[in-house]
Amino acid sequence: MPEDKIAVYFCHCGSNIAGKVDVEKVTAWAAEQPNVVVSREYKYMCSDPGQDLIKEDIQKLGVNRVVVAACSPTMHEPTFRKAASDAGLNPYLLQMANVREHCSWVTEDKDEATEKAKRILNAQIHRLPFNEALDPIEVPVNPAVMVVGGGIAGIEAALKLSATGKKVYLVEKQPSIGGHMAMFDKTFPTLDCAACILTPKMSAAGKDPNIELLAYSEVEEVDGYVGNFKVKVRKKARYVNTDTCTGCAACLEACVVRKVPSEFDQGLGKRTAIYIPFPQAVPLRATIDAEKCLTLKGKKCKQPCTTACGPQAIDFEQQDEVLDFEVGAIIMATGFELWDPTPETRYSYGQLDNVITSLEFERISNASGPTGGHIVLKNGEAPKSVAILHCVGSRDENYQEHCSRVCCMYSLKFSHLIKEHLPETEVYELYIDMRAYGKGYEEFYKRLMDEGVHFVRGRAAEVSSVALSPEEEGRLVVKVEDTLLGIVRRIPADMVILSSGLAPAKDAKSVAQTFGFGCSANGFYLERHPKLEPVSTVTDGIFIAGCCQYPKDIPDTVAQAGAAAAGALALVDNPTVKVEPTVSYIDPEKCCGCHICVSVCPHTAIQYNEEKGVAEVITAACKGCGVCVAACGSNVPQQAGYLDDQIFAEIEGAMAL
């Protein structure tokens, strides 16, 4: 072993550090410490001349350990490690002492700051002899990408990736891609027709030779790690041969079960047991609803669908298939669920007719919807007054604390659509705060005020059918405090639209678990960093886009989908990926096979080898938390870069002064 030759560099950071810490004093003191062969100070260590100091000392003085006392390692550790590396020193033999964020900037007194800087520096001087040279771990990367969820986010991400020539598997659990956006009529604030902008993308995705569409399918199991995921996908039986089915819909005409509430129409319209969810569906293939089909339920049926089907595509014997895929990256775009307002009983959803959710209104106002785009009540008449209630199930500790972000704007859109179809109808928007934060949104809000919509600042207290005046007779009444007036109003309405919040999908938590990342407190997928890595998850190689991360509108969703695609591409476009070497490793000579590390590993990166009777770390799956090290009763797993000896030495160094 060559002797330890430590070099200390103390950065002034202009006056950021030097203004508080007596740099000369600390540098002179450091020079006296064991193993330190050179101790220097410099105005800006991160500048090129600063970095050159390090390189020169490594090359000329044979320095083999370096500590840079400067800013937070988050800031410049990569910079200095690269400099060391350029000079031929293993980058992991360089440590940073954070004397700016943790010392000069937070300490009032100069003497105290100087003393603290010494202690912080000394911890690293003590640590360095225990540092080992580490090499980044390289693993091969599978260039294919899986996108989970076929809404606008998933479609967009798949198309972007396919354009770079990558193979994409697009998994969608419904029979057709399109997601929620396919149900919408118009989009705010531009009032583009949702179908007009979405369907071309859907069909492009359907035809794209690089995209393999796995509709009516769900991911069952995810194994592997960054660059090398193994995914099991269950392709549910459609009972229709999708290779031969042409989507002609003749079977739909023939089916005798005709009154199944259509999921796509939010139950407002009906479909048949064999169905295509909507005319622009991609893939345009029929699916048999096994719970409704008489034949599949074992009841008598003459099977007119089979007769009607020219290509003989119907196959009652079809079974689910479980397929295996190998991909290098995964994009999660599993979307949201509309919050079901049934528990909010005071709004009488499900109790009183004409109290509807926003998604139901989307279908009612949609030209291809169950009412042909006529905004009508259950009895077919046009409403004379409509109240739109904001923040239903949002911003509420009893239900969901978060703001759902899109409800204010889609509510304004509804007002506009009602005014457009029924100019004489009174529209009331009952809101707490009007959040019109996007491009063109505030202008849209003003436009709606101008169109004569009544804005009432107050959260609706209840929706009732009890009439206390002739005007209220036979109508719904919304009780609300107009907080700007300080009076309680009874607003008679024929239709009440509940602007329900966006909720995480019911299975979000279990899905996240399957893929090995977490959910935030509000139930949406947890991003790696809320500011700087909003499309990554803690699992390397798995990205998120769209409303599964948090409620967002279409432009934000599309932008995020692009970012996720770029993130995935940046990964799979390389033949290999480097993984941080601060991972755990297990010496099989010492492991007793007790399974404790296997039990605590949050990323299932430790597996038990039955044959050898020992635990083994899957290096590429290990994220370097070190939980196994602390949990093992005999310290067998060790984490490179965070060895016990290194931590002990830091403690000794910090406490030595």
Binding site: E397, I432, R459, A461, K479
Partner: protein, 195 residues
């Protein structure tokens, strides 16, 4: 209108109120009221209030304690708990109303024309005398104290109930009625000790 809050006494009172309210279970939630109006909108009697519960919370937060206690709001609360179960911020508004009532009585800030404190007092008095509330006594004493016109309004109702045997004149006394006095005396002593 000069706000009482500008005087030193008012400031001291406000601080006292803040301490009391913040120390009630869940009291600190008042800070996160988003002024949505669900409470006032849900309140069956808010139309009679000079300030609704929402405005009371706003006034409280603004330090306008006189507005809080001099309004009739707290005396119109029927304890129906609609506001409490609906509040999206989880504020126990009914409990807050009780707390404010107590403080108004404690610091003698009750509006002169309010009948409620008298009702409360007679009720408590009746319970302490008998151990239970004697409805006939309660009504009679209340009429005598606050609303002598009441018998004229209600003689028909009263007569019917009386005829049905639903207004017994004699009060029942429980055996342990002195216990209630002792309980109050104990709590009085504890309160005095803590101050």
């Amino acid at each position: 209108m000069t706000e009482l809050a500008t005087t030193p006494q008012a400031k001291a009172l406000h601080e006292q109120f803040c301490r009391d309210v913040m120390s009630m279970p869940g009291g600190e939630k008042i800070k996160i009221c988003q002024q949505c109006g669900t409470c006032t909108g849900s309140c069956p009697t808010s139309y009679l209030m000079d300030w609704g519960p929402r405005e009371i919370i706003a006034a409280f937060r603004a330090g306008m304690i006189d507005r809080v206690v001099k309004s009739n709001t707290i005396w119109l609360c029927t304890s129906c708990y609609y506001c409490t179960v609906r509040c999206p911020a989880g504020i126990k508004i009914t409990d807050l109303m009780y707390e404010l009532k107590r403080m108004a009585i404690k610091y003698d800030l009750v509006p002169k024309d309010s009948k409620n404190p008298a009702m409360t007092k007679i009720f408590v008095d009746s319970v302490h005398r008998h151990g239970r509330n004697h409805e006939v006594e309660l009504m009679t004493r209340f009429m005598l104290a606050k609303d002598r016109g009441l018998p004229f309004k209600y003689w028909q109702v009263g007569l019917k109930l009386f005829a049905a045997g639903r207004l017994p004149l004699a009060a029942k006394n429980i055996r342990g009625r002195d216990e209630l006095d002792k309980i109050s005396a104990y709590l009085d002593a504890q309160e005095a000790k803590s101050q």
